[in-house]
Symmetry: C2
C-alpha cells in the first residue's frame, strides 16, 4: 500500500510533531519508536523509511519544538512572555511547553549534534527577544542580549525546579511566584551596576 507524495510528507510531519510533544512529556528515553509511530497512526516498521535512527528524529523533534517556541514568542512582549512562561499552566503541561525547560537535562547527555540544535534554538529565541530593543548603540545591544540570556536561564531554572517538586506541593508554586515577581522586577529596573 504505497501512498501519495503529499501523504508521505504529511505522515513524516506528524511523526515529528508527535515526537516533539511526547519527548517533552517523557524524555528521550521515555518514549520508544513503536509508541512514537503508533501516536502518528502508523506501525513501527516504517520508521526507518523516514529517519536514519531514533537519534535522528530526536534532533529533528528538538528543532521543531524550539522553532515552535520561538514562533510563539515573536508576537508578544517580554512581560507577557514571562507571565505565561512562569505560569502553573506551562509548568503542568510540558508537552506543549518550552522544549528547553523540558529537555535541557536530557540534551546535556546527548551527542554534540543534538546539543548544537539546542544552542541554535537558544540563539534564535534570543534574537527574537532582543529584537524588541531597536537601538543602534553597540553597548546597549550587548546589554539587551545579556539581559535576555539572563532572563531565559532564570525562567528555565524556575520551571525545572518547580517541576521536580511533588504535584500540588506549596514549594513548587512558591518557586514559580517568587521567580516571576523577581524577573518582572528586573525587567522594569535599569541595568544593574557593575
Amino acid at each position: 500500500m504505497k501512498v501519495t507524495k503529499a501523504q508521505v510528507q504529511e505522515n513524516r510531519a506528524r511523526i515529528v510533531a508527535m515526537a516533539s510533544v511526547l519527548f517533552r512529556e517523557r524524555g528521550y528515553d521515555g518514549v520508544g519508536v513503536a509508541e512514537l509511530m503508533a501516536a502518528a497512526g502508523l506501525t513501527h516498521g516504517g520508521f526507518y523509511k523516514h529517519f536514519k535512527s531514533k537519534a535522528d528524529l530526536m534532533a529533528e523533534a528538538a528543532a521543531e519544538g524550539l522553532a515552535q517556541s520561538a514562533a510563539n514568542t515573536a508576537d508578544i512582549d517580554v512581560v507577557a512572555f514571562v507571565n505565561q512562561y512562569l505560569s502553573r499552566q506551562h509548568r503542568d503541561a510540558p508537552g506543549d511547553g518550552c522544549t528547553m525547560a523540558a529537555l535541557c537535562g536530557d540534551a546535556a547527555r546527548q551527542p554534540e549534534s543534538i546539543k548544537a540544535v539546542f544552542a541554535a534554538g537558544i540563539e534564535r529565541q534570543l534574537a527574537i527577544l532582543e529584537s524588541s530593543n531597536e537601538t543602534e548603540d553597540e553597548s546597549a545591544k550587548r546589554e539587551a542580549r545579556a539581559r535576555m540570556i539572563d532572563t531565559m536561564a532564570h525562567a528555565v531554572g524556575a520551571i525545572v525546579l518547580s517541576r521536580a517538586c511533588p504535584d500540588d506541593s506549596p514549594l513548587a508554586d512558591e518557586i514559580l511566584e517568587v521567580c516571576r515577581a523577581q524577573i518582572l522586577g528586573q525587567l522594569r529596573s535599569p541595568p544593574a551596576p557593575i
Copy 2:
C-alpha cells in the same frame, strides 16, 4: 562468602555513593543496576539484598547527593557559593556537582516519592542559605527566603542551559558569565521594589 556487619554497611554506603555520582553524570535511565554494582566492586545479584528496587536506590542516592550539596554550602558565604556554582568546573563535572542541576529534569518524570526527596533537598538548602541572615523580623525573613529561592532557580537554570550547549561552545560560557554577574549584582543590591 558472608561478610562482617561493618563490611555490609560499608558496601551499601559505597553503592549509594557511586550511584549518586553515576546518576548525576548519566541520568537515572543512563546507568543500569549491573554497572552500579560493578562500580561498587560487587556483582549485580546482591543488589536486592540492599534495596527493594532500582527506584528505591534512586531515591536514596538523590537524598545523599542533596545532603552533600547542603553540607558543602554550610561553610561558605553566598557570594562564594554563587562563584563556585556558576563556574565552568562545576558545569563540566556534573558527577560531583549539584544534584538539582544534574537531575531535576529526570526527577520531574519520576514517582512522587522521588520528587518529595527533591523538595526536601531544596528546603534544606534554602534553610542553610537563609541562615546567614540572622534577623528576627518576619518580613525580612520572608524576603531572605524569596531571594534564596530566586537565586537557586537562577543558578540552576544557568547550569542546565549551559550544559545543553555543545562542549566548548561560546554560548555555553556566555550563559554562565552573564548569569554569574547578574546574580552577584542582585545579591549586592537592595530588595527589588514591588
